[in-house]
């Protein structure tokens, strides 16, 4: 009888208890039933303090950059150099696209010279894609998922690795086609982009 009573008391500990602010939101702002996704931190939190999405400060400084003609011109990309260290951008609505342009000026010499682009974005909102376009607007390569296992940032990654001939190129960031977006309610995302041209 004493044992049974002890078990009943201990049952309290058997109820899952998820603390607020302890999980990143899942795809489509997914959170435990009594929580909501706080979009700015993409963390599951109390509905009382959860806020809706707003583009991070400075992330729209390059707008309008919604076409090749409006692309943010990053200048020349030198062999072995970094073009963009870490820049925050934002896709804030359906149809929004961000373009940036750069010129690769010469043939690079090295063990494995290649363009290296990393796009990182919260998994909670619409997934993003990145494409490399040539001067005519034709797609050279599409970014591939490259999220490392055990990533504890609540983000997904899409990467491009490609050796290039000299020329002018464009990088286009937009929402992935048919990406889950809460039936349109979370068709937005912020991102961080890194662009470099390592030689190995």
């Amino acid at each position: 009888m004493r044992l049974a009573a002890g078990c009943l008391v201990a049952l309290v500990a058997c109820t899952p208890d998820i603390g607020k602010g302890t999980y990143f939101c899942g795809p489509e702002r997914f959170c435990p039933p009594d929580m909501e996704c706080d979009d700015p931190t993409y963390t599951c939190d109390s509905p009382r303090i959860a806020q809706r999405f707003a583009c991070p400060a400075g992330s729209e400084a390059l707008e309008p950059d919604d076409s090749r003609g409006q692309a943010s011109d990053e200048g020349e990309l030198g062999c072995g150099a970094s073009l963009i260290g870490e820049r925050v951008g934002c896709v804030d609505a359906e149809g929004d696209e961000d373009f940036l342009a750069f010129d690769l000026t010469g043939e690079c010499v090295g063990e494995n010279p290649h363009l290296e682009v990393t796009l990182r974005f919260p998994i909670a909102f619409v997934p993003l894609s990145i494409d490399l376009l040539d001067e005519s607007g034709a797609t050279v390569i599409e970014g591939m998922a490259c999220t490392q296992s055990g990533d504890l940032t609540g983000n997904d990654r899409v990467c491009i690795e490609r050796d290039l001939a000299p020329g002018r190129y464009f990088l286009r960031v937009r929402a992935a086609a048919d990406g889950p977006d809460c039936d349109g309610d979370c068709h937005y995302n912020q991102y961080t982009i890194i662009v470099a041209y390592p030689l190995a």
């Binding site: 049952l11 302890t22 939101c25 940032t153």
Partner: protein, 168 residues
């Protein structure tokens, strides 16, 4: 044979009660030659089956409750977190499934414990309600028709050995 066992039983019972002998007048000093004592009756088979079944239910449902209790504990531990300590994990459908399964197991455990508790109470009640009580046995001189009991007294050094034989 039955009589011998009965006689031995009475003898042992009398010895067991010897500490109270001073309070009871077994030797009928008042002059009567009849000896009276009480013997526990046995429960019948149905009553025993009822109690055993009830207790079996207690063990069964207690065990089921414990299994689901442990299961809910494991699942709860998988998803539970302390507020203020970000896990760095993403809340996925799989975690939600684990959380729901933990709650389901908890509910089953509570229900099983409740049913097991009911059986435990039932066992206790059945034990009390089926108590057959005691039988009063009178041992005295054998009646003329031979249906009474025969008192056996054998003097020994410093006392006597007392026994009896009777028919039921």
């Amino acid at each position: 044979m039955l009589r011998r066992f009965a006689a031995l039983g009475v003898l042992l019972t009398l010895l067991g009660w010897s500490v109270r002998a001073s309070a009871q007048d077994y030797f009928q000093q008042g002059g009567s030659d009849e000896l009276t004592f009480h013997v526990d009756r046995e429960r019948n088979s149905r009553q025993k089956l009822l109690i055993v079944s009830m207790f079996g239910g207690t063990v069964l449902f207690g065990g089921i409750g414990l299994l689901f209790h442990i299961d809910s504990k494991h699942k709860s531990d998988d998803v539970s977190t302390d507020a203020g300590h970000h896990t760095g994990r993403i809340y996925t459908e799989e975690l939600e499934d684990t959380r729901r399964a933990g709650i389901r197991s908890r509910n089953v455990a509570i229900a099983s414990y409740a049913i097991g508790g009911g059986f435990l109470v039932g066992t206790f009640l059945a034990y009390l309600l089926t108590d057959p009580g005691q039988e009063t046995v009178r041992v005295g001189t054998e009646a003329a028709d031979g249906t009474g009991a025969r008192l056996l007294v054998e003097p020994t050094d410093g006392g006597a050995l007392v026994g009896g034989a009777w028919r039921f």
